[in-house]
Structure formats: C-alpha cells, structure tokens
C-alpha cells in the first residue's frame, strides 16, 4: 500500500552485508541464530526504525495499561464534566459525555490496533496460501492465478469493504476484520509468490527434491519458512493501510457500535465539535498518524534487516 511494487522490485546488493561471512566450528548450530542476530544488528543500525519501534511499543503499552490504572470509568456518562479542557485530572480533556479522553483513546487504540493486526494476519494468511500455491505449482495454474490477481489489482478496497459490511449486516470486531481483508490481500499474494519462485531455484530446494523429499515436505520445510522474513516485513507494510481503512469506515459511520469506539469513531465524534473543542478530533487522529508513521519506518528497517537484497533507496 505504502511501498509500491516498483520499490519492492528495486534490488541492489547490500554493501554492508558482503564480506562478513562468519566462520564457525564444525557442529555448532549457528545458522538459525546468526541469521536473526545479523538481522537485529542491521535493524539497530537504522536510527529511524529504532525510534519508530520504541514509540510503537510505547503506544501499544499505553493502550494496554492506561485503562487498567485509570481511575475513570470509560463508559460513565457525566454531563457536568462534558468538554473539559486538558488539565491535570484529565490530561487530554473530556468528550461530550464527560468521559476521560486519555482512557478512551487508550481503549480505542486497543480496538484499532487489534483490528489492524487481526486483519493484517488474515491478509497474510490468504496471501500466503494463494501465493504459495501459485508459485509452487507453477505452469498454467500459476498463470491463471496471477491473471486473476492482475484483474483485481488496484481495485479500491473501500467500496468492497462497505458492501461486505452490508452483506453481513452487523458491524463487530470480526465482520470488520473480514471487510478490511477481503479486497486487500492481492499485494501480499504477489510478494509471497515472487519469493517462492525465487526460492524454488535454490540449490537446497533442488537437493531436497533430488534426494526424494515429497512436495509437501519441500513446501512446508524449505519454502514457507523462508518466506517468514518477507511476511514479517509485510505485516508492517499492510498494517498502516488496514488501520487507516478501519478509521475511514468508522469515520463515515460504518464502524464498531458505541459505547465501544475505535480511533476512527472517536475522530468522528470529534468532527462534530472541531470548531470549539479541537482536542476531541485531534487526539485520536494523532494517535492514528503516529501508529501509521511508526509502522512505515519499522517496515523500512525490517526490510533492510531481513531482506538485505531489496534495499530501499
């Protein structure tokens, strides 16, 4: 969504990676751990990604812990306290029902982030299944499946998400996840298929086939685990689009029902009073923007770390 296929396709050798071939004593199990250690070292070198990762974790922790320690009941209506400006008692102020915005924004974040991750996982599972079948089987099946993807590529997901919500009738956590993932998995399927096709040509896969490994063993043991790096990157590539999509749907009134609220539906409530009480729309919107921005930087950092061949310039 944020990174175009062109950027994905741009490949240049990573100067940092060449030359640090590690020599290990025979029999020491180094392969697995050194891959992740290398990845972590490369990630840590990217200052922007480290800062973004820290803020991201802090934001998630904020959403988890603030409602637990908060003295305010997030659903308690108290009109005497409506639209209080930010103060020591209410650092972000209160909304039209006198509810504490700090507590509400943390709870909204729980819903937004949970929907975001659930929909991203759904997108990746569909993409992984579709992409690995297409890439692994190859031939006319691959051709047909890719043509189908080409057909759907670029379709705006919002109308299809809206129709999906209309089909299922009610809006709740799971229907929202379905609506957001139903027309968003095309890119991840393409990424997985490309990865599988590249991997299939590797010597260890040929060797596995040559010594008589069954196709499902090759797929489950060699191909799918090696797409893991790409999939972890894809989580943070897809997350911003999904979070924004949920916010858009909630903003136009197709979100989760009150009194639960996601950041999008909180922003919608704030939209009605933005002239007098700007903080009500500003706070959830800034939360969305922070999360999306962090996810973008984390995706960049992870790409450098886990897939050094595709380096974004």
């Amino acid at each position: 969504m944020v990174v175009s296929p062109q950027q994905q396709r741009m490949r240049s050798p990573d100067p940092a990676h060449s030359g640090d071939i590690q020599v290990a004593g025979a029999g020491t199990p180094i392969a697995q751990s050194s891959l992740w250690r290398d990845a972590r070292r490369r990630y840590m070198r990217n200052k922007g990604a480290v800062v973004a990762g820290t803020i991201f974790i802090a934001l998630v922790a904020f959403c988890i812990f603030v409602p637990i320690v908060s003295p305010y009941d997030p659903d308690q209506v108290n009109f005497a306290d409506a639209y209080l400006p930010p103060s020591l008692a209410h650092p972000f102020g209160t909304d039209q029902f006198g509810r504490d915005l700090l507590t509400r924004v943390a709870l909204g974040g729980r819903i937004s982030i949970a929907i975001g991750f659930a929909a991203t996982l759904a997108i990746l599972v569909i993409g992984l299944t579709y992409g690995s079948i297409s890439g692994f089987v190859g031939g006319w099946v691959d051709n047909a499946m890719m043509r189908f993807l080409d057909a759907l590529y670029g379709l705006p997901y919002l109308p299809f998400a809206i129709i999906t919500l209309a089909i299922v009738g009610t809006v709740n956590f799971w229907t929202m996840v379905i609506a957001l993932s139903i027309a968003s998995w095309f890119t991840s399927a393409r990424i997985v298929r490309g990865q599988i096709i590249t991997l299939k040509e590797n010597d260890y896969v040929r060797a596995a086939t040559a010594v008589g490994a069954r196709w499902y063993r090759v797929l489950a043991r060699h191909l799918v685990p090696n797409t893991l790096g790409v999939l972890i990157i894809a989580i943070f590539l897809e997350l911003p689009g999904v979070i924004l999509g949920e916010a858009f749907l909630s903003f136009i009134g197709l979100g989760i029902n009150p009194p639960s609220a996601s950041w999008g539906s909180m922003a919608q409530e704030g939209r009605e009073v933005y002239r007098t009480h700007t903080n009500v729309i500003l706070i959830p919107s800034i939360a969305i923007a922070t999360l999306v921005l962090c996810a973008n930087f984390i995706a960049d950092g992870l790409r450098d770390a886990l897939d050094p061949r595709t380096k974004e310039t």
Binding site: V2, S4, Q6, Q7, M10, S12, F148, D150, A151, L152, Y153, G154, L155, P156, Y157, L158, P159, F160, I162, I163, T164, A166, I167, G169, P240, L244, A247, F248, F251, I252, G253, L254, A267, R271, Y274, R275, T278, I281, L282, S285, I286, I288, A289, T290, V292, L293, N296, F297, E312, T313
Partner: protein, 311 residues
C-alpha cells in the same frame, strides 16, 4: 507494438467480466430481494410482476448476462429507492463532480510532488531532503479526515477573514481549493517519495556516468537521461493511485459536503439502494481497470522491455 496494444485491449474484456461478476455475486448476498422487505405487503401477482420487471424471476446467470448487457450499453438499471431515477441519472448528476475533484487533486499531486522528489534526490541528505521526506511521510500517515478538518479550521474559520474560503460545497472556485488540497496531499507525498527513490537509483546508472564523462552539460544529462528514466515508475503508479483517489474522495466529499459519487455512495448504502450501490461499484471498478490498461499501454510505449511481460 500494435499487437501488444490489441492483446492488452482484448485482455481487458475478461477482466471486466470478472470484476462485474464479483460485484454481482457479492450484491446478491445482501439480504434477498429488496421488494419483499417493503412495508406494505404486496399481492403475489404484483410481486410476480415486479420480479419480472427487474428480471428477478430468472436464474442468476441470466441476470448476470442481462446486467453485463446493460453495462455494455451504458444502462445501469433503475434505482430501487428513487423510483423515477435511473442509476444513469445519478451517475450523470454526481460523477462529473467527483471526476473534477479527482483530476484536480491528481494535477496538484503531480505538479508539486514530482518537483519535490526531484529536488530532494538532487540534494540527498540535505536539510531540504529531510524536510521533504518528513513531509512526504506525514502526508501519507496523517488520515485525510484530519487534514481536511484542520484545513477547514484554519483557512475557512480561524483565518477566514484573510482567505475567505468556504467550509463546504462545490459551486465556486474558492470552495474547490481546500478539498483538492486535502485529497491531493497523500498522492503528492507518494509521488515525492517514489520519484526521489527512482531518481537516486537512476543517478547511479552507468549511462548517467557516461553522459557526464563525455562532457554533456549537467542540465542536459538531467533532462534527457535522468528525468526520463525516473518518471516511468510514476506513470505506473498513477493507475493504483486512482483507486487511492477514489477511496480518499469518499471521505473528502463527506467532510466538505460535496455532492459527488463518494458521498452518494454512502447515502445509497444507508438507504439500502442496492442497484445504485452495485452500479457505482461497477463504475468505479471499470474505471480502475481501464486506467490500469491505459497505464500498461503507456508503460509499454515508454519502456519496450515490459511489453512481453505485461501483455
């Protein structure tokens, strides 16, 4: 070349059929026949007549074929809620506005985004580069409803005396400024990032070094070798970006109360006017498919290597 264009045109036909089929099948699953939910019970004879009128008595594949025939002859059928209006009337009334909004936002994004990316790439790691990229990242992350609301807050209300811009509507040219900026900022950030990335890549190419080495003036190297090769990805990006503009215009039209197709779409969904929802979805999908086709053909012209791969 001609063969490539013909193949690409022919390939669009099954794609369109597939996209219409998908929309059609999805719409069929929205709770049954709309007329059976009407408040007054209708007699079976009238029901049968209604079913016949709207072809609901036929099997689904016949309905699909009839619908495709309608789309092919630019007839999207009647509205279910507004009995005197056809979907065509609604499209005719609202679509030009959305089209204008999307087009102006695209122009805004291209005219500002591409130079921003080019200048940032020419001075990598300079203050301008950092500022431009920070701006580009923010432009993508900040939800458009916040951008729109802030624009209204500052330029229409707080400093309204200076700028005198209206908060909503689409009648005067003043009323178009804020929506176009609000919709165009995201794509503009996208173009800036994309062009900067490809430009940095192109500057490393051997042919650029060769051009410099043979003593070509820098300005000419830039215009002939670097820019031309850096802008092709921006052309490809324009296709998917159209989807982005459509998606974005839903929100922007909603906030600025612009009577475009996006705002009408939301109204139609809440009014359960399914023939309108379906007609508009098919229309949007067809536009995206056709735009992708135009982009592919353009790309084939600009970069002959892609012709075979992209049939």
């Amino acid at each position: 070349m001609v063969g490539f264009i013909i193949r690409r045109l022919l390939w669009t036909i099954p794609v369109l059929l597939l996209v219409i089929l998908m929309t059609f099948l999805m719409m069929r699953h929205i709770q049954g026949n709309p007329f059976r939910h009407s408040e007054r019970a209708v007699s079976p004879e009238i029901q049968a007549n209604l079913d016949r009128k709207f072809n609901l008595d036929k099997p689904w594949y016949v309905q699909y074929a009839l619908y495709v025939k309608g789309v092919a002859t630019f007839d999207l059928g009647p509205s279910l809620v507004l009995r005197n209006q056809s979907v065509n009337d609604i499209v005719r009334a609202h679509f030009p506005i959305s089209l204008q909004l999307g087009f102006l936002a695209m122009v805004f994004a291209v005219v500002l985004g591409i130079p921003l990316g080019v200048i940032a790439a020419l001075r990598p790691n300079s203050a301008f580069d950092y500022a431009a990229m920070l701006f580009a990242n923010l432009g993508f992350a900040v939800p458009s409803f916040l951008i729109a609301t802030l624009l209204i807050y500052f330029f229409a209300l707080k400093w309204g005396d200076i700028f005198g811009l209206p908060t909503s509507g689409w009648d005067t040219w003043q009323s178009k400024i804020l929506p176009v900026i609000a919709l165009g900022l995201g794509p503009m950030a996208y173009f800036a990032r994309l062009v900067r990335g490809t430009m940095l890549e192109t500057l490393q190419q051997d042919y650029v070094r060769t051009a410099k080495a043979k003593g070509l003036r820098w300005r000419r190297v830039l215009m002939v070798h670097v820019l031309k090769n850096s802008l092709t990805p921006a052309v490809t990006a324009a296709g998917p970006l159209l989807g982005f503009l459509i998606t974005g215009s839903f929100i922007i039209e909603y906030i600025f109360a612009i009577p475009g197709i996006g705002k009408y779409y939301i109204t139609a969904v809440s009014a359960r006017d399914y023939s309108v929802v379906m007609g508009l979805t098919v229309l949007l999908a067809v536009i995206v498919v056709l735009a992708n086709m135009v982009v592919d053909i353009l790309y084939g012209v600009l970069d002959p290597r892609t012709r075979e791969a992209r049939t």
